[in-house]
């Protein structure tokens, strides 16, 4: 008897997104330009989800897409920008319009909130944020944003942040078997904690591997199958961002995206063309063009 005979968790991207209900909370994986599950954001937009709350340290293009399309109305995040490229214009507009509420934390605070959720304890202590408006000013979480207490052992001031156990964790990895055992190359960002904190976990992977490959080197498994509810295997999930060992970012597309989002009109045009104007992720990849995509292939030993 092998596990391979007993279960296959693979579903389509559309089926995966269908499970997310309006108003749900999502841990959102990836960090900076690395492994953001952008294809999933596209599909949430195509399926016209509403009132999602997204928890992450700092995904970038995907947060822009979900805010811009009105899919997400609450963000608990530490960062919104396209780093070296500049500000997140969609988020900026939606916040000014009052259509998006951002509850601000630091990166460490968010990572610890995911760790606390994964550990199933109600809070985690951290030494950041104290003395600043990160503590003093709160939006919809009010008193439940965080607390500052005196440590009962040392007397030190310590900040405690509430753990997160969202409805779903959405995580993008390099490789997965059909049971859900997932391997990540390069940095993990906050994805180990994030993948374990959600009530359900959807793993999106670039490549399917056989379970025998997993069983030979089990210490390379970063997310064991027992956390995983569903698996989606697709190429270029992070495009126009990067996936370590698989492909580089598409700087031209990224700059175009960033430039177009400067105005609402530009953003609506991008949305219509690249997200709503295609049937699915393969439609998007066709539009981007396979010769463009192939140019992004990672080179050994650099990984990009």
């Amino acid at each position: 008897m092998t596990e391979a005979e007993v279960e296959d968790k693979r579903i389509t991207l559309a089926e995966a997104a269908k499970m997310v209900g309006d108003g749900d909370g999502l841990f959102w994986g990836g960090f900076g330009y690395q492994r953001p599950p952008i294809a999933f954001a596209h599909e949430l937009v195509r399926q016209k989800k509403r009132n999602l709350t997204v928890y992450t340290c700092g995904s970038e293009v995907d947060l822009e897409i979900m805010a811009g399309a009105g899919v997400a109305t609450r963000y608990e995040i530490a960062f919104s920008a396209i780093e070296a490229l500049g500000l997140s214009y969609n988020i900026r507009r939606r916040v000014s319009e009052g259509k998006l509420a951002v509850e601000d934390y630091s990166n460490l605070a968010m990572a610890m909130r995911f760790l606390g959720g994964a550990l199933n304890v109600p809070f985690m202590p951290i030494r950041s944020m104290m003395g600043t408006d990160m503590v003093n000013l709160r939006r919809y979480r009010g008193d439940d944003k965080l607390k500052v207490m005196d440590c009962p052992f040392t007397g030190d001031k310590i900040c405690i942040v509430p753990s997160i156990q969202p409805d779903f964790s959405i995580v993008h990895v390099q490789r997965v078997d059909k049971l859900g055992n997932a391997q990540i190359d390069g940095i993990v960002g906050e994805d180990l904690e994030g993948s374990r904190c959600g009530k359900k976990l959807i793993v999106l992977a670039e490549e399917l591997i056989d379970t025998t490959e997993v069983l030979t080197r089990p210490d390379q498994t970063k997310i064991p199958a027992m956390y995983v509810d569903h698996v989606v295997v697709l190429p270029y999930i992070a495009h126009p961002m990067m996936c370590h060992d698989y492909y580089d970012y598409d700087l031209e597309h990224l700059q175009m995206f960033h430039e177009m989002t400067r105005t609402e009109e530009g953003w609506q045009e991008y949305l219509d063309n690249y997200i709503l104007g295609v049937d699915d992720h393969h439609g998007y990849l066709n539009l981007v063009g396979w010769d463009n995509l192939h140019k992004l292939h990672a080179t050994k030993p650099w990984g990009y």
Binding site: S80, A84, S96, N107, A111, R127, S128, G131, A298
Partner: protein
């Protein structure tokens, strides 16, 4: 900034070289992207070969052959000695007091070195949503020393911030200790006009050096609070040709250096 003496450099190059001078050999440095990253790399290639460049995304002891656009850019990977994650860098390293120097930029700064990277305008109806803290508050809270890089503009050097994202010296002496913050607070602020530092007793910001081409009056005119001005204000050192050459080698495409300043 144009041509000065026999060495020709852009404003960006000047600021990077200036920031680089604050990294000491053997230090653990949070680099990030942009000018701070180039400053850290320049230091490593010149006076601080044993410095250890860390990216908050999880890369430790990095030596990128091309400049990364993101703290999580795979360009940070090959040749670094460990690639892990956020709990490692911001928790086990930074919060544990193992990071010597962090770099931060900001949209607003006050006279105690507190920083705003979150909102312009009132919190309840913000005019502009800025990037937020990211790891900034964590770095400002826990790095031993903080180097701040800012555009010099009256609307950015304020008596009161629209929002305090990251702690400088908060409301003055003893405040960081009161909140049990791990790190030492800001050491220097580098703008396109000058360098500023902080009075050890009052924790208030003062002028440290003026960049070539600017006067003390220029700087006083461009801050909204009382700036401590010492009797004798030196001129900031200019970059050397060697530093300029190395910067160009590090960023040949001009991604951060620009196409010629």
């Amino acid at each position: 900034m144009g041509v000065l003496k026999i060495v020709e450099y852009s404003k960006t190059e000047f600021l990077i070289a200036c920031a680089s001078s604050h990294v000491r050999d053997g230090e653990n440095v949070f680099g990030g992207t942009g000018m701070p990253l180039l400053a850290a790399l320049l230091a490593k290639e010149t006076h601080a070969p044993k410095s250890n460049l860390i990216s908050e995304a999880g890369f430790i002891d990095a030596r990128p052959r091309e400049v990364p656009l993101s703290v999580a850019d795979t360009r940070y990977y090959y040749g670094c000695s460990a690639a892990i994650g956020l709990i490692e860098t911001l928790g086990f390293l930074l919060q544990a007091g193992r990071i010597d120097v962090g770099f931060l930029g900001a949209a607003q700064i006050d006279e105690y070195g507190n920083l705003n990277t979150s909102y312009i305008g009132p919190y309840d109806a913000p005019k502009v949503k800025l990037p937020g803290s990211g790891g900034g508050n964590d770095i400002a809270s826990s790095a031993k020393r903080l180097i701040i890089m800012m555009a010099h503009d009256k609307r950015k050097f304020l008596k009161k911030l629209d929002y305090m994202t990251s702690p400088g010296y908060l409301d003055g002496p003893g405040a960081r200790e009161k909140w049990s913050l791990v790190g030492g607070g800001p050491e220097v602020v580098i703008t396109d006009m000058c360098q500023m530092d902080f009075d050890p007793d009052t924790k208030k910001i003062g002028l440290k050096s003026v960049h070539p081409g600017f006067t003390v009056q220029d700087i006083q005119d461009n801050v909204m609070f009382d700036l401590i001005i010492p009797d004798d204000v030196p001129t900031t050192e200019e970059p050397t040709q060697k530093q300029l050459d190395i910067m160009k080698k590090l960023d040949p495409k001009g991604i951060y250096l620009g196409k010629g300043g």
